[in-house]
């Protein structure tokens, strides 16, 4: 503690160099934080998955439907609490660039399996009571200025034709890990149009959502569900919601791996920036360290002095970077449509990673100068001409 003052004074000895190093680290940590936030957003669906939810889809592909009749059979299995179902609707709202998730859902059960979507009771009742009613997420409502009673016209693509949905409820995500940009409407509304216009597609659901009593039974129940429909016209594949979501992002794995790799390359860059500064500083102070050793300072004192300075700079840079990450992520959220990254925020884990990386970099960057100062004899140090 007594050498703390010297540590701080050393840090400020070359103010411009220290400032530029802190700024460099800050920008690098900000880039790290931002990339990690993008990666996290990519996996948000996986992360937000509930352990007690299973998804049953057609075993051939997600795009092939399953009969509605499967619902009751699944519901009878021991350990199953609730079964709901959905269809991916697709459609075009305004133009093709306006993307958000639009799904036909069962209004009676959908919110039972997705309790993280919070809907006021009166709005829920209104949603259930009107055939072409829809429920939209609060973030989506904010993005398009949807209000209760508004009509959302849509051009169908998977389900052709002109569609109109009346906003009757706006759900609030339970927390920031929950997607607030979805739109659900009555599955029955979709089905009755299909009965009239494309009877072959009636009575079909995209996937089932199964709420189970005990997450530990997930594997067993999944197997039981799939066994029921084995050798049927539409065999099923049941898996946990996390595994199901993982399947969506798996195709982009290489890009995500590259982003992750870049994030860690940035840590290497920070290390080089700080390492360079620390090596220069320690080299310039070779004689001073020799003087300190002469008057009785030990190797451990010098280690603390050099490592302390390095850690001060790295933590200041890390702090700056973390502080800058928030406005950058905020700016990105403003520029990029919310529905692209429905869950986009700086995770505490990202902060922890950024902070601990900065600390680690501070320690590692000081190792070489410490080793050098310890290995230089007093006599050689006193003779040193920088």
């Amino acid at each position: 503690m007594r050498i703390l003052k010297l540590m701080f004074k050393n840090t400020l000895r070359h103010k411009l160099r220290t400032f530029l190093t802190i700024l460099g680290i800050g920008i690098a940590v900000m880039a790290f934080g931002f990339l990690r936030t993008v990666v996290t957003a990519w996996y948000a669906g996986v992360e937000a998955s509930a352990a007690n939810r299973l998804i049953t889809r057609n075993s051939v592909s997600f795009i092939f439907p399953l009969p509605l009749a499967y619902k009751d059979k699944i519901a009878k299995l021991p350990g199953v609490e609730k079964v709901s179902y959905m269809n991916w609707f697709g459609g075009v709202y305004i133009d093709k660039t306006q993307f958000f998730a639009r799904m036909a859902a069962d209004p009676e059960t959908a919110l039972d399996v997705y309790p993280e979507f919070i809907v006021p009771a009166d709005q829920l009742a209104a949603f259930k009571n009107e055939r072409n009613a829809c429920i939209v997420g609060a973030d989506l409502a904010k993005q398009y200025n949807f209000k209760i009673g508004d009509v959302i016209p849509m051009e169908g693509d998977i389900y052709p034709g002109k569609w109109e949905f009346v906003v009757r409820a706006i759900y609030q995500p339970r927390d920031k890990t929950v997607d607030g940009t979805q739109m659900w409407f009555h599955w029955a509304y979709l089905d009755e149009r299909m009965r009239q216009e494309m009877p072959g597609r009636a009575g079909q659901v995209g996937w089932y959502i199964i709420r189970i009593k005990d997450p530990k039974d997930a594997a067993k129940i999944s197997e039981e569900v799939d066994n029921i429909f084995q050798n049927s016209r539409a065999e099923t594949k049941t898996e946990t919601e996390a595994a199901f979501q993982q399947g969506f992002v798996a195709g982009t794995g290489l890009i995500i791996s590259l982003l992750n790799f870049m994030a860690f390359v940035i840590i290497g860059i920070i290390m080089l920036i700080l390492g360079n500064t620390m090596i220069m500083s320690a080299r310039e102070r070779t004689k001073e360290y020799a003087v300190l050793k002469t008057i009785g300072f030990s190797g451990s004192h010098l280690t603390k002095l050099i490592a302390g300075e390095s850690i001060i700079i790295s933590l200041l840079g890390g702090g700056l970077g973390i502080a800058l990450t928030y406005p950058i992520v905020g700016l990105f959220s403003l520029v990029v449509p919310k529905s692209w990254f429905p869950v986009f925020y700086v995770e505490p884990m990202t902060l922890l990673l950024a902070g601990s990386s900065a600390l680690l970099v501070g320690i590692v960057a000081s190792l070489f100068p410490i080793q050098r100062s310890l290995r230089t004899s007093i006599v050689d140090g006193l003779r040193f001409v920088g």
Partner: protein
């Protein structure tokens, strides 16, 4: 009769430079009494500074023994030697070697940070040392705000702050003008006489050597 404070016995020292071994000191034997003021003179490369470094415990002999105040310093490990230096030796360098980012006060306080003294006690020691060297009014000045002579006086204050028994000075007037050099020599003389410090001083300057009680000459690594 005064006690012997420094006993250098049959000490040899050579440095390795690449594949060459350069002998610097050959079989040196030297005694310095307590309270003595020894001047070491000799041409460049004669081994004066090396002998001083060995006596002060900042270098180790290849052969022979060095006892200072009864301690065989050649046998101490690095940590013990660092502690020993902090307690028993004050260093005065030719180029002062003050830490530029610390004030005169903080520079003098440096060796005291290694002791168990409280902040108030350290302040007392620092103020006393700076008063002794006549810089009580410059305690918050940084080295760059002081003249060369004043910087050397701060360095002397730093050397005496822990009240060591031995002061080693390597060309303490080598970088100073005549008047400043005279002030420094007077100060060293005072430290020797008034504060009973044993001083070993390396110098080229015959006027500096005049202040010493004993002058020994080194030539090609041997005492003459």
């Amino acid at each position: 009769m005064a006690n012997v404070m420094i006993q250098v016995e049959n000490v040899s020292k050579a440095y390795r430079r690449d594949s060459f071994e350069i002998p610097v000191l050959n079989n040196i034997t030297l005694n310095v009494n307590e309270g003595d003021f020894l001047g070491l003179m000799g041409p460049s490369g004669s081994g004066k500074t090396t002998l001083l470094n060995l006596i002060a415990g900042i270098d180790r002999p290849n052969k022979g023994s060095i006892h200072v105040g009864g301690t065989d310093i050649a046998t101490l490990n690095e940590t013990a030697l660092a502690k020993w230096r902090a307690t028993h030796v004050g260093f005065i360098f030719q180029f002062y070697n003050l830490i530029p980012v610390l004030t005169a006060y903080e520079n003098v306080e440096l060796p005291l940070l290694l002791t168990s003294l409280s902040k108030a006690e350290r302040r007392k020691h620092v103020e006393f040392a700076l008063d002794v060297v006549g810089l009580g009014d410059r305690i918050y000045h940084y080295p760059k705000q002081l003249s060369g002579g004043q910087e050397q006086r701060v360095a002397i204050a730093r050397a005496i702050a822990t009240d060591p028994t031995l002061l080693v000075a390597d060309e303490p007037t080598g970088d100073l003008d005549k008047n400043s050099a005279e002030e420094i020599l007077t100060l060293l003389d005072r430290l020797n006489k008034e504060f009973k410090k044993t001083i070993v001083m390396v110098t080229h300057d015959p006027r500096a050597a005049e202040k010493a009680h004993t002058v020994r000459h080194l030539d090609k690594g041997e005492l003459t």
